[in-house]
Subunit: 343 residues, 2 copies
DNA sequence: CTGAAAGCGCTTACAG
DNA sequence: CTGAAAGCGCTTACAG
């Protein structure tokens, strides 16, 4: 039950705990411990399967070798996939991950931050909610933001994707496929990533000389549930029958969109073109398959954890702000077998 | 930077750290601290926004208020959803969650266990791999297993689903819909949950007087990747054209199965009936939609964490082994619009 | 080359 | 009714 401590080793080796600590922390050379003693200690430690008590070490050094990961929703495939990469890479570097979901709720996010703070995590990877910047500023530990950032906070570290370019590419692709009345379905969220997707959409339409007015921009309250989104989308589509393609600004909107379109008896691709932000198993397997702009999930995860660990080790040299490109994955929802013809 | 400690409060209140500790831990009454002192301390603590250092407390008490969650794959929707519920409920009880994915790899699981152990987690929720029972037995802390258990370890705590009943129901449903040559696609895993699903399949066929021989049981190596599964399934279907329905034993097999069936140009439901274990957004949204036996994810998560916390509080009274029922969700893949007719 | 001692921030048995 | 002291298991500045 009771673990092996440094004392046990010291006793068995006939030396002081100090010496054991030096040897076990690889400071034998530096502290000029004799080869002989050093070897003896190492042998005993491995015989006893000694594992340092991280709590004691943390209390003394102030480092817990733990990082806090705050995502919007761990059950969302994008965040779950990033979390997996983060955990994997952290593990390789000797760090463990404490996680939590904000549901994009400010209060919940603050609660998570507070708990992680007094758990003394060494650093944070945070998917911020709105207005979380003040709270984050009081953390006094390395923080890397993901998915979104605060435009007015200049010196923060983050890994995000090029939302503008992604949306722009997606919408341009639709236009090039012959769709002429393209709408965006997005949320009311005032967060930067959503703003940029909207801007990309508007810009693409303008560049192609197409109308980008209010009636092709549908904003849904971001705190609706799945059935709520589906119902709202259905309603919007019903009252805007002249639309011939939709750009969905998030994966869950895209998923709800599929349900809505189908419930109206419309055929995706031919009746109504569609592209969604963010790839998902569903989009690949759906029939017809759904075109999307995919995030480089693996790379996002790797960059996040490495940027944070570099900060923790004070070896930071690489750029502090990374904007990754998105990849347009063309599928049937925008390139129907029967070409879409404007009537 | 430096946090507020109990000493700071003691100083400001003009009492000893001991007294502060008693008051803050709600032992004022028990220790007969005067109302006056008590109130003063509480006021100062909240003014200073005192947060106890969990490391120091943990070192002293041996409790870290942390639980370890080991899943097979946090990126798999089933595990991600369970993880979310677990984290949520743990949070309500003042616990944080450290997590990791085993990929069903024994060595990786052992590594995770070791790290969590010397991080002094108070208890574990574990999706065990094969042969992990010895390792788990040496943990000397409360453990609740999920998704599977060790049949030869009688006194373990677990929350699982009734795999036999689920498979039995799924296959019976197929037979009742008129499918006559039903196969199972499963993995080579020797784990109990997979065995039970196989038994449910065999039993259902036997009960209905249908053949349940080797040629309707296809076992795939469980460590293949997605493309690997898809390829193997495609091959199996090609060489067994007489089959008219398939029961897929896991959600990822079902997903790969959809790809395989479609790549062969077969129509799900009419050409080939299908039911998958475990629900998934894809199954609901696929066209045709896919019948499945769904796990009660929410309830699994809640039961897991509550069982563990009861163990931690030594208030355990409820049953230690919970087997939850599965729900058959009938969809188009087994009830085609054009009825399946045996020729 | 090695060790005694202090201290991280708590809790708790003991004393008065 | 309250406090001094020990101790959880480490690390590290200091001494010799």
């Amino acid at each position: 039950m009771k673990g092996i401590s440094i004392k046990d080793i010291a006793q068995e080796a006939g030396v002081s705990p100090t010496t054991v600590s030096f040897v076990l922390n690889g400071k034998a050379k530096e502290k000029r411990i004799s080869e002989q003693v050093s070897k003896r200690i190492l042998k005993i430690a491995s015989k006893l399967k000694y594992k340092p008590n991280q709590l004691a070490r943390g209390l003394r050094t102030g480092k817990t070798k733990t990082i806090g990961l705050i995502v919007e929703d761990i059950a969302n495939s994008f965040f779950a996939n990033v979390a997996k990469v983060v955990e994997d890479e952290a593990d390789k570097c000797g760090y463990k991950v404490l996680f939590g979901s904000t549901e994009d709720n400010e209060e919940k996010a603050k609660g998570l931050l507070e708990v992680l703070r007094y758990r003394q995590v060494d650093g944070y990877i945070i998917t911020p909610t709105l207005n979380l910047d003040k709270e984050i500023a009081t953390l006094h530990k390395p923080v890397v933001l993901m998915d979104r950032y605060f435009p007015n906070v200049k010196d923060s570290h983050y890994v995000v994707v090029d939302n503008f370019q992604g949306a722009y590419t997606a919408v341009s692709h639709l236009v090039e496929q012959g769709y002429k009345k393209v709408a965006i379905i997005t949320t009311t969220s005032a967060q930067i990533q959503m703003q940029q997707r909207l801007e990309g959409f508007v810009d693409a339409l303008k560049k192609h000389g197409l109308p980008a007015g209010k009636n092709v921009i549908k904003r849904l309250p971001f705190d609706l549930d799945r059935p709520g989104f589906t119902k709202e989308i259905t309603q919007y589509l019903q009252t805007n029958k002249d639309l011939d393609a939709i750009f969905f600004a998030t994966n869950y909107l895209g998923i709800c969109g599929i349900e809505s379109i189908r419930s109206l008896g419309l055929h995706i691709g031919t009746d109504l073109g569609m592209v969604s932000f963010d790839d998902h198993d569903i989009f690949r397997l759906h029939s017809p398959s759904i075109t999307c702009v995919a995030q480089p999930v693996e790379e996002i995860g790797r960059r996040l954890i490495h940027m944070l660990i570099e900060e923790l080790d004070h070896t930071s040299s690489s750029p502090k702000q990374i904007v990754l490109p998105l990849e347009l994955r063309k599928r049937e929802s925008s390139i129907p077998a029967v070409p879409h013809l404007d009537v």
